[in-house]
C-alpha cells in the first residue's frame, strides 16, 4: 500500500437532491456516504481501487478515501473474507466485493463456518459488521461462473442476513443499511440491472431497515413474488397481464433472510394465488421456502398451488441460450395462466 490520503483532504462535493442514477452509481454513492460517515468503514476486493471494480461500482472511491480504506486485495476470496473478519474483530466495518457470483465459493467456508457463527459462539460478545457484496444473476452474455444465483445457499445459513435490492433507490438506501448493520450481510446486486436508471433521493435518511418485503404493484388476482433482478420481470409481466384484464400484485422480497412471510401471506390471502419468480434453480430454492410457508399460512385462501418460475436443475447454460433458462415475461405469464386455470 503506497498511497494514502489524509482526513484533511479538500472538501468533497457530496451529491444532493434527487438524481436519475444507474443502479451501479447508486451503490457507489451509498458506499461513498458510508465511507464519509465512518472512518472505520473499509472497502476490500479485487480490482476495486484504480479500476473501480470490474463493474465500476467503486469508481473513484480509492482516489477519494485512500488505499488503506479502499483496498485492492490479493486475488483470494477466502483471504478477503477471512481478513475482513479479523478487521471487524478489531473494530472496523469491512465491505468486501466478490467480483462475480461464481467466485464466492472459495470464501464459502469463511462465510458459513466463521462469519455467520462468531456472534453466536461468542454468546454475543463479538459482532462482525461485515458486508459481502456479490454481483449475481445472468442475462449479460457472460462466460461460465459469471451468471449464477447462489443466494439460497446463504439464506440457508443462520447468522447471515441476505438482501438484494431491485432498484437504484433501494440499492442506495440498502447498502448504507447493510454497512450500518451489526450483523454480517450478504448483499446480492443484480448485475444485469447495473446500467438501468432510476430516481434516487440522495438526501433520504437511511433507516428503513434491511428487513421487510414491499408491495411494488397492487393487484387482486395473482401475487407475483420476486426479488433482485426478477422484480422488473414481474412488473413487466403484470403490465402485460393488465392489458389482458388480469390484475397482478407484485411483491419485492428485498430480504431473503429474514424472509418476510407476513407481507407475502397478507397479499396471497387477498389474491388466493401465488407465483414465485427467481433466476436461481427452483429445486430447494427461495421459491420452495415461500411455497411451503404460504401453504402453511394461507391454506384455506389458496385457489391454486403455489407455482415457481426459475432456473432449471442444470448448470447455468452458455450465453447463447441463457434467455431460455432465465425466467422471462412469457414464462411468468405462463405460470400465471396455469395458476388462474387451476
Amino acid at each position: 500500500m503506497s498511497t494514502t490520503t489524509t482526513a484533511a483532504a479538500p472538501a468533497v462535493q457530496v451529491p444532493t437532491g434527487t438524481q436519475r442514477l444507474t443502479f451501479a452509481k447508486a451503490i457507489n454513492l451509498g458506499l461513498r456516504r458510508a465511507l464519509a460517515d465512518d472512518d472505520k468503514t473499509l472497502l476490500m476486493g479485487e480490482d476495486i481501487g484504480k479500476l473501480g471494480g470490474v463493474f465500476r461500482v467503486t469508481d473513484g472511491l480509492q482516489a477519494e478515501f485512500g488505499a488503506k480504506r479502499v483496498v485492492d486485495t490479493p486475488l483470494a476470496e477466502s483471504g478477503i473474507v477471512g481478513t475482513a473478519i479479523g478487521l471487524a474483530l478489531r473494530g472496523y466495518r469491512p465491505v468486501c466485493e466478490i467480483q462475480f457470483d461464481g467466485f464466492v465459493f472459495p470464501a464459502f467456508d469463511q462465510i458459513t463456518t466463521q462469519l455467520s457463527k462468531m456472534h453466536y459462539r461468542s454468546r454475543g460478545r463479538l459482532t462482525l459488521p461485515v458486508v459481502i457484496r456479490v454481483p449475481y444473476g445472468g442475462g449479460i452474455g457472460a462466460i461460465e461462473h459469471h451468471s449464477e444465483s447462489p443466494e439460497a445457499l446463504f439464506a440457508h445459513t443462520a447468522g447471515l442476513r441476505v438482501v438484494t435490492p431491485s432498484s437504484p433507490a433501494q440499492a442506495y438506501a440498502m447498502i448504507q443499511e447493510a454497512v450500518a448493520s451489526p450483523d454480517p450481510v450478504m448483499f446480492f446486486e443484480p448485475k444485469g440491472r447495473y446500467w438501468e436508471k432510476g430516481d434516487v433521493d440522495l438526501d433520504a435518511p437511511a433507516g428503513n431497515g434491511l428487513d421487510g418485503a414491499r408491495i411494488v404493484r397492487a393487484g387482486t388476482d395473482v401475487t407475483l413474488v420476486a426479488y433482485g433482478p426478477t422484480v422488473q420481470t414481474a412488473l413487466k409481466a403484470a403490465e402485460t397481464a393488465a392489458a389482458e384484464g388480469t390484475s397482478i400484485e407484485v411483491v419485492d422480497l428485498r430480504a431473503l433472510s429474514p424472509l418476510d412471510t407476513a407481507t407475502v401471506a397478507a397479499s396471497v390471502q387477498r389474491t388466493g394465488r401465488c407465483v414465485v419468480v427467481h433466476e436461481a434453480p427452483v429445486l430447494y430454492g427461495t421459491g420452495a421456502e415461500v411455497a411451503a410457508r404460504i401453504t402453511e399460512e394461507c391454506f384455506y385462501h389458496l385457489q391454486a398451488p403455489v407455482l415457481r418460475v426459475g432456473g432449471f436443475h442444470a448448470p447455468y447454460p452458455v450465453a447463447k441460450i441463457e434467455h431460455d433458462y432465465l425466467p422471462s415475461v412469457d414464462r411468468v405469464l405462463d405460470a400465471v395462466d396455469r395458476s388462474l386455470a387451476f
Binding site: P74, G82, I85, L87, L89, S257, P258
Partner: protein, 405 residues
C-alpha cells in the same frame, strides 16, 4: 506406513519410498532436525547461541521456575481433563501434552497488548494469558461453543476449522496497523498478533492466503506453527516434502525453525519475531518442532498408526524434563518449590473436577440467543413456537421421549 519403514535421525517413520526417492541434493524432509534453534539440550545443558542468548539473558532462576511451574500445571490440567472425558464428564478433549515448551515459551514472550488467535490445543498459551483454564473446558463439556471473552486476555476463541483463524489473525493485525499501533516505539502502544496452528494446517489454502495477505500488507503478525509431527494419523510427511518453515520465505516472510521442546529457545525466537512485528518490521514465521505425545483427541487411537518406540523416543525428550534437568543442574530446583508445586497441582486438579462437574446444562431456548445481534423475525417466530411447544408438556423440564401430552 509399513512395518519395515525406516527411521531417520529423529526416530520418526517415513513412508515407504519417500526416503529412497529423494536424491541426496534435495532439501531435507519436513521431519528434519537440522538447523533448529536450541538453547537447552534434551539432557538439560545450556547451549550458547550468539543470536538468541541476549533475548533470554534477563530470565533468572525465578523466571525459569515460573515457566517450569506453568508447564507442570498445564500438564496436570491436561491429565485431569483427559480423565474427566474418560468419566463421561467431557464429550471430547484435545491434549496439549508434549507441546508445553512451545506454548509456555512463546506465551511468555507475549505482551499485554498483543492478541492471540489459537487453534484448539493452545491450553498452555491460554494459561499464560491468564485465562481460567476450566473455561477452556466449556467447549469440550458441550455447554458453550466459546467459553470466554477474547477481549479479557487478548486470546481469541478456539477455532476448529483448521487454519481458518490464521486469516482472522492477519486481518486483526491489519487493523492494528491501521490503528497506528505499530512502529511508534512506544511500548505502551505498539502491539502484535500471534496465531497458532499445526503442521496439518499448513496444507490448508487459508494458511497460504494468510501468509500472502500478511506479507503484502507487512502486517504485525507472528505465524507460530507447532509441528507436532501428526495431523491425527497423518505424519507431517503427508503435508510437506520440505520443512514447513520453508513455505514462508517464498512469500517474503522470514522464518525460523526452533526446537519446540526447548522452552528457552521458543521464548527467544518468539520474542525476536514479536519485536519485529511491533516495530513495523512485518510478519514472521516460526516452526516449533515438537511432538504430540498424546492422542489427537480422546477419540483417537495412535497405536493404529505410530509405534511405541517412536513414542518412547519422544518421551525421553519430554519438554518438562528438559527444563527440570537444567534447573537441577544449576541447583535452582529446591525441594520446597517442588512440594509446593505438587500441592498446587493437586489443588488445580480438584478445582478442575469440581468446576467441570458444576457446569450446568444451558436452557434449551438458549439456542435461539445471539444468532443475530439485531432481531431476526424467523428466529423470533421459531423461538416463540419452541416455547409454546415446551410449555405444552404437562411436567415441565422432565419430559422424555414420547411423553408429549
Amino acid at each position: 506406513m509399513s512395518t519395515n519403514a525406516t527411521a531417520d535421525a529423529t526416530g520418526v517413520d517415513t513412508p515407504d519410498g519417500i526416503q529412497n526417492a529423494q536424491a541426496p541434493t534435495q532439501p531435507a524432509g519436513p521431519l528434519s532436525t537440522e538447523g533448529l534453534v536450541q538453547l537447552l539440550t534434551p539432557s538439560g545443558e545450556r547451549v550458547h547461541d550468539e543470536r538468541y542468548d541476549g533475548l533470554v539473558a534477563h530470565l533468572d532462576a525465578d523466571a525459569l521456575r515460573a515457566m517450569y511451574r506453568d508447564m507442570v500445571l498445564v500438564r496436570r490440567f491436561d491429565n485431569e481433563a483427559t480423565s474427566l472425558q474418560r468419566q463421561g464428564e467431557l464429550a471430547l478433549f484435545a491434549q496439549s501434552l508434549g507441546q508445553e515448551a512451545a506454548q509456555i515459551g512463546s506465551g511468555y514472550a507475549l505482551g499485554p497488548l498483543d492478541h492471540v488467535f489459537p487453534s484448539y490445543r493452545e491450553h498452555g498459551v491460554a494459561h499464560v494469558r491468564g485465562l481460567e483454564l476450566t473455561d477452556l473446558l466449556r467447549l469440550f463439556r458441550g455447554v458453550d461453543h466459546g467459553g470466554w471473552d477474547p477481549a479479557d486476555h487478548g486470546f481469541h476463541l478456539y477455532t476448529l476449522v483448521i487454519g481458518s483463524h490464521t486469516l482472522h489473525a492477519t486481518g486483526y493485525a491489519m487493523g492494528v496497523q491501521r490503528d497506528g499501533a505499530v512502529g511508534t516505539g512506544d511500548p505502551t502502544r505498539d502491539a502484535a498478533v500471534v496465531t497458532y496452528f499445526g503442521d496439518g494446517a499448513t496444507a490448508q489454502g487459508d494458511v497460504s492466503e494468510a501468509l500472502t495477505f500478511a506479507a503484502v500488507n507487512e502486517a504485525p503478525i507472528v505465524f507460530f506453527c507447532q509441528n507436532n509431527q501428526w495431523a491425527i494419523s497423518e505424519s507431517t510427511t503427508h503435508q510437506a516434502r520440505v520443512p514447513i518453515a520453508n513455505r514462508a520465505p517464498g512469500v517474503g516472510i522470514p522464518a525460523v525453525r526452533v526446537d519446540g521442546n526447548d522452552v528457552l529457545a521458543t521464548y527467544a525466537v518468539t520474542q525476536e519475531a514479536l519485536q519485529r512485528a511491533r516495530s513495523g518490521g512485518g510478519p514472521s514465521f516460526i516452526e516449533a518442532f515438537t511432538y504430540r505425545m498424546g492422542a489427537h483427541t480422546t477419540s483417537d487411537d495412535p497405536s493404529r498408526y505410530r509405534s511405541a518406540e517412536q513414542e518412547e523416543y519422544w518421551r525421553q525428550r519430554d519438554p518438562i524434563d528438559r527444563l527440570r534437568r537444567y534447573l537441577e543442574s544449576v541447583g535452582e530446583l529446591p525441594a520446597t518449590f517442588l512440594e509446593q508445586l505438587d500441592a498446587e497441582g493437586e489443588a488445580l486438579g480438584e478445582h478442575v473436577r469440581t468446576t467441570v462437574r458444576g457446569m450446568g446444562r444451558p436452557s434449551p431456548a438458549s439456542m435461539f440467543e445471539h444468532v443475530y445481534a439485531t432481531p431476526h423475525s424467523v428466529v423470533e417466530s421459531e423461538r416463540a413456537w419452541f416455547q409454546t411447544y415446551e410449555s405444552s408438556f404437562l411436567e415441565h423440564g422432565h419430559h422424555g421421549e414420547g411423553s408429549h401430552r
